[in-house]
């Protein structure tokens, strides 16, 4: 049913429809409404699940780890500081191949303290062995959770659904929430591939010396690379079941004949699409390639889509301090070095700490890269509050 609903509420409703057995999450802005809604649904008897109110995110992640290991469909949600606090457990969950689903309500990282959106948090754990999917809008955010459980349980890899904090979590927009039967048809009950049970005495999280550790990492790496198949398949299954495109590896917009292509992820693609339409009317050919699956990184799909494009500009809300754009690095790596030496891939950072990204600023960005490549620059930087002696 189509509802005009807040992003967090949509996610909570859909997660509840996925019938998790155990939910454990610690409140942190801007994810709080998801936690509260789920607590309400369990408390009022609409969702039969154990809701474990914990003392920290580290505990929340540990609780869902234990629950999943014991054979339960487990869910948690966090952001920013919370994600960093549960960092150790994130790696543990992936290493143990537990199919946990988490919502990350992307938010900037302290210090200084900032509760607004950027994508630094999920980027910080990109190497941990989780699948990371980025939602464009609240419909996709809701849809990705259903797909996430299915993908995770199929290949035993945890999945993180990333949605921009405040911009999506607190945005009120139309979302189609499916009914229980539709979700049950799409997402069958959890069949654990391993679980803690006296009937099958097996250990999890063993001590692995140099003879064995690297091999487990190799297996995990190859599994993640191959997971592009599962991601694509589940997205196709979803389209068949629900009649709309959602998820997958990448999406493109107005790529045909585009002179400049913007590569980005998350909610900012909405603003970019409006700008592209505007510029097309003015006769300027700009296109968009949006990354939905950030991990595994869709290198092949990206290369196939952009092989003939000479001016590419990557826009992201995160940065590897001391190096530059994180997504930009991935994009640059996607093109073989020997080819097309006149291809320019520019890198722009914007929106850190929730700084508003406007169409005007994006337009300037496009106009700049039309003229010359930009190694690295920042959108909307207020140079007036930066003193020379700061640098």
């Amino acid at each position: 049913m189509l509802k005009q609903i807040e992003g967090s509420h949509a996610v909570a409703e859909v997660v509840a429809l996925c019938r998790p057995h155990v939910i454990s999450a610690y409140p942190i802005t801007p994810q709080t409404h998801i936690v509260e809604d789920l607590a309400g649904l369990v408390g009022e008897g609409h969702l039969e699940a154990e809701f474990v109110n914990v003392e920290s995110e580290f505990a929340a992640a540990s609780v869902v780890l234990g629950a999943s290991a014991a054979g339960a469909r487990a869910y948690t949600t966090t952001t920013s500081q919370g994600l960093l606090l549960m960092n150790e457990v994130i790696y543990c969950i992936a290493g143990m191949r537990l199919p946990i689903v988490m919502t990350c309500a992307n938010r900037a990282i302290s210090a200084p303290l900032n509760i607004w959106n950027d994508q630094q948090d999920s980027m910080t754990v990109r190497d941990a062995g989780w699948i990371q999917l980025f939602a464009e809008d609240n419909q996709e955010a809701a849809d990705l959770h259903m797909q996430a459980f299915k993908i995770a349980e199929q290949i035993s890899v945890p999945v993180m659904v990333c949605m921009d904090g405040f911009i999506l979590t607190h945005a009120f927009e139309p979302v189609d929430i499916p009914d229980q039967k539709e979700v049950d048809d799409f997402l069958p009950p959890f069949q654990p591939k391993a679980m803690l049970d006296p009937r099958w005495p097996r250990g999890m999280g063993l001590y692995a010396d140099p003879r064995f550790y690297m091999e487990t990492r190799y297996i995990l790496h190859r599994t993640l690379e191959k997971s592009t198949e599962a991601i694509k398949q589940v997205s196709a299954d979803f389209a068949k079941a629900f009649g709309r495109e959602s998820g997958g590896l990448i999406k493109t917009y107005n790529l045909e004949g585009a002179d400049v292509v913007i590569v980005s992820l998350g909610s900012v693609v909405g603003t970019i699409k409006d700008l592209i339409d505007q510029m097309r009317e003015e006769g300027k050919k700009v296109g968009l390639l949006q990354i939905t699956s950030y991990r595994p990184f869709p290198r092949k799909e990206l290369y196939d889509a952009l092989r003939d494009k000479m001016k590419i500009v990557v826009l992201e809300k995160c940065i590897s301090l001391g190096r530059g754009g994180i997504l930009a690095t991935d994009v640059r790596w996607s093109f073989p070095r020997a080819e097309k030496k006149d291809r320019a891939i520019s890198s722009f950072i914007g929106g850190l700490g929730g700084k508003n990204i406007t169409q005007d600023e994006l337009r300037l960005m496009v106009e700049r890269v039309e003229k010359e490549p930009v190694e690295l620059d920042f959108i909307g930087l207020n140079k007036e509050i930066i003193a020379e002696r700061d640098l």
Partner: protein
């Protein structure tokens, strides 16, 4: 696409106002997007909320910088916050004030309308939360969303006597504006 910016103080129901307008537009068969611009929960601090209404899906994610309409839930914000920033020259600003527009001395080419939202709220709802009145006046002035849709939205979001009182306040505001139009 129409863009609306709502200014108020925490606790005056600014976010609820934005959501009600969005729900009403949705019921009228339009596409709507509403979102707040705020930080941690703090009563009394200046806050903003944004609404976009269109006949097609809304993809834009930036804050509303050039609103067609402004709703100001607290007249005392006029001195401390640049609420008029970006208002389109032929736009409209509706202010919760117990004064007439001319008395506010605002420098703008846009239309200025006022309504004593807090006073009416205290009378009908019993609390100084003016949002239902502001929305009622807004509907009446702009016709952007139907009054029926807002009434339904209020009853769905606020059950019981809270909802009824807010609907009554909404209708009072609507009446006031209608009367003004007739006399003009």
């Amino acid at each position: 696409m129409i863009e609306i910016r709502i200014h108020g103080r925490g606790g005056q129901g600014n976010v609820a106002a934005a959501e009600l307008l969005a729900i009403a537009a949705f019921k009228d068969g339009k596409f709507a997007q509403a979102f707040p611009s705020f930080g941690a929960e703090r009563v009394g601090a200046p806050v903003m909320a944004f609404v976009r209404i269109d006949d097609k899906k809304i993809r834009l994610r930036e804050e509303v910088r050039f609103p067609d309409y402004l709703i100001v839930q607290d007249q005392y914000l006029l001195d401390t916050v640049p609420v008029l920033d970006g208002l389109k020259p032929n736009g409209m600003v509706l202010i919760n004030a117990d004064k007439r527009p001319e008395e506010l001395g605002l420098k703008t080419t846009a239309t200025v309308e006022t309504i004593p939202g807090t006073e009416i709220a205290i009378e009908i709802i019993g609390r100084p939360i003016p949002n239902a009145i502001m929305i009622g006046a807004f509907c009446s002035l702009t016709g952007l969303v139907s009054l029926e849709a807002v009434q339904q939205a209020i009853m769905e979001k606020f059950p019981g006597s809270v909802g009824k009182n807010n609907v009554a306040a909404l209708e009072r505001a609507h009446e006031i504006i209608q009367k003004r139009k007739e006399h003009a």
